[in-house]
């Protein structure tokens, strides 16, 4: 084993904070070619807009409450530690945006759904999951979860990794309750 260099330090910190980078075990072709139109990287600018959405929903705007209760946002932490988020979009064969994927609406061939890997070009990623407004919670509120089979519930993911992502949003004043789902016993 080679000795650790100063350059390794940030990587190790990222591994510790958000889990090691793992390639998705399965990827659809479109997920490596197209990115969602609604994609954002979390930064000061996007966080400012996002916070307005969060706030207006919490303040009682029913329209956004019920939309984001059924249409969760996807999020993934990439290898550099950046957080990406978007809607789960359905695209046509040329990658043109069609609509956000509601539950139980079959995606007719040749349309395809852009899942978590599409947020980071199908590359290796750290923890991932969903952001949603849970109208059934008492009281109703925003949640962040690790509900992503390809990044979020992989072996080695921990509640702490999810909490760290929530803290990253929190740094911009965006507050989420974290809900962690344990990975399978065997590594997938």
């Amino acid at each position: 084993m080679s000795a650790a260099t100063p350059d390794d330090q940030p990587l190790r910190s990222l591994d510790q904070a958000f889990g090691v980078c793992l390639a998705p075990s399965r990827v659809d072709d479109v997920e490596t070619i197209y990115k969602p139109k609604s994609l954002h990287r979390l930064d000061a600018e996007s966080a400012k807009l996002m916070k307005r959405l969060i706030d207006v929903t919490e303040e009682g705007l029913r329209v956004t409450r019920y939309v984001y209760s059924e249409l969760p946002l996807l999020w993934v932490v990439d290898g550099r530690g950046d957080i990406w988020f978007s809607l789960e979009e359905v695209v046509d064969r040329d990658g043109n945006y069609l609509f956000p994927k509601p539950s139980r609406v079959p995606v007719a061939t040749p349309s395809k759904k852009l899942g978590h890997p599409s947020l980071i070009g199908g590359e290796q990623g750290r923890i991932g999951g969903e952001i949603l407004y849970d109208t059934g919670a008492a009281p109703p509120r925003w949640f962040i979860t690790n509900r992503s089979g390809r990044y979020g519930v992989r072996a080695g993911r921990t509640p702490e990794h999810l909490a760290n992502v929530a803290r990253m949003f929190g740094a911009y004043g965006i507050e989420f309750a974290a809900d962690f789902y344990p990975p399978p016993d065997g590594a997938l």
């Binding site: 139980r104 890997p117 849970d134 059934g136 992503s148 390809r150 809900d179």
Partner: protein, 401 residues
């Protein structure tokens, strides 16, 4: 209950944290969980050649249900096996890999789910497969009333390949029966000084002798013939010459007729190369208790036949132990038989055949759980013995239960 009814197939796909808490609150309730898991099965049925993204969704939902303690009430593997024919293979594998195997539970929920969805669960998939290639001393199968019963088989139906062969069989069959009956009559005479064991044995032989195709059991009759051979070896010098002659005639005829019953040869072929299973006495007791407790699924005649297999072959072994039967041949025995191995193979072959037939019965509506539990009990008794005989039995499959 109205609360949990909100967990529809549509909702299952998008479980929110509040839904997971709701399911967890009801995770011990059979009916509530049947709603949840019926929604899950219904959701899984939607996928045909799923994409990576869809498999990802199924994995996530499976784990969310795990976080909600939904698998406390039923082993996910059992649920998936029961509804396997309705679900894409990759979906099936994804759920099992995600959730893993837990202890077997009360299977009643499978029936609840099936009723809700109008599906026909493959309950037999929840029982390990019986071993293949193990010769059975008794022919059993499922009959019309969904019961395990004695049927026609290679043990009681002659294999006649030609008209010439048929003529020969008819003559031998007639002779064998005639000699056996003559022996019984002679041994039954009040003047006969021969001890009662001979008469009892020939009477049992005649009870087992297949007088018509599909009835009786030539292999069990053969075990009685072997008992008689053992007795004769022991007491030949003190027996009246007429009895010795009668026994000789009978043995020759019996050996000739056995050739027509494939079940006899197949069985002894396995016995010849067989090994011994440990603790067989205890296994027999346990298996007898298990089949006696399943009268709705296993005919009483099957229980009697199993008991007879045990007693007949064991009796043979006791006599052999006294006589070293393999050295005593009157007339020459075409089969070099180890009586102890015959007993082991007889009992275990019968257990495997009864279990295989039981597995082929259908779980009755409303009694899926008891049917499965009885089947698991039979499999659990049969598997270790089969395994020791080197048969490819249900052992590996059982490990998942």
């Amino acid at each position: 209950m109205t609360e949990i009814a909100s967990i529809t197939p549509q909702r299952i796909e998008r479980l929110r944290p509040s839904d997971i808490r709701l399911i967890a609150r009801h995770s011990d309730e059979l009916e509530a969980m049947s709603i949840v898991l019926a929604s899950f099965v219904s959701y899984l049925r939607c996928f045909k050649d799923p994409t990576a993204s869809e498999i990802d969704d199924v994995l996530s939902v499976s784990l969310q249900l795990k976080a909600a303690d939904a698998w406390k009430i039923i082993n996910a593997v059992d649920l998936m096996r029961a509804f396997r024919k309705y679900v894409d293979q990759s979906i099936y594998e994804t759920v099992i890999k995600a959730v893993g195997v837990s202890e077997s539970k009360d299977f009643t929920i499978i029936e609840y789910i099936a009723q809700r969805l109008g599906l026909d669960p493959a309950t037999k998939e929840l029982l390990p497969e019986a071993a293949t290639g193990v010769a059975a001393p008794i022919p059993v199968d499922v009959v019309q009333d969904n019961k395990v019963a004695i049927v026609a088989g290679a043990q009681n139906t002659p294999n006649i390949k030609s008209k010439k062969s048929s003529v020969k069989f008819e003559k031998l069959h007639h002779d064998c029966l005639k000699y056996a009956e003559e022996l019984r009559n002679t041994l039954g005479d009040t003047d006969c000084s021969v001890r009662g064991a001979y008469r009892e044995s020939i009477e049992r032989y005649l009870e087992d002798f297949p007088t018509i195709a599909g009835q009786g059991n030539m292999l069990l009759a053969d075990s009685e013939a072997r008992s008689l051979r053992g007795l004769l070896d022991e007491e030949r010098d003190s027996l009246p010459p007429a009895i010795v002659d009668g026994l000789h005639r009978f043995f020759v005829a019996h050996q000739s007729i056995c050739v027509f019953y494939d079940g006899v040869g197949q069985f002894y072929e396995q016995v010849r190369t067989g090994v011994l299973a440990p603790r067989l006495e205890e296994t027999v007791v346990e298996f007898l208790a298990a089949i006696e407790q399943s009268p709705d699924f296993i005919d009483a005649a099957v229980v009697r036949a199993f008991r007879e297999v045990d007693l007949d072959f064991k009796r043979l072994d006791v006599i052999a132990a006294r006589l070293e039967i393999e050295k005593a041949v009157v007339p020459a025995d075409p089969i070099s038989l180890s009586p102890l191995r015959a007993w082991h193979y007889g009992v275990i072959g019968a257990m495997n055949a009864i279990y295989a037939a039981y597995r082929a019965t259908k779980a009755p509506v409303g009694r899926t759980s008891s049917w499965l539990l009885s089947g698991q009990a039979l499999a659990a008794i049969t598997a270790p013995a089969l395994s020791r005989l080197g048969a490819s039995g249900p052992e590996a499959h059982l490990a998942g239960h």
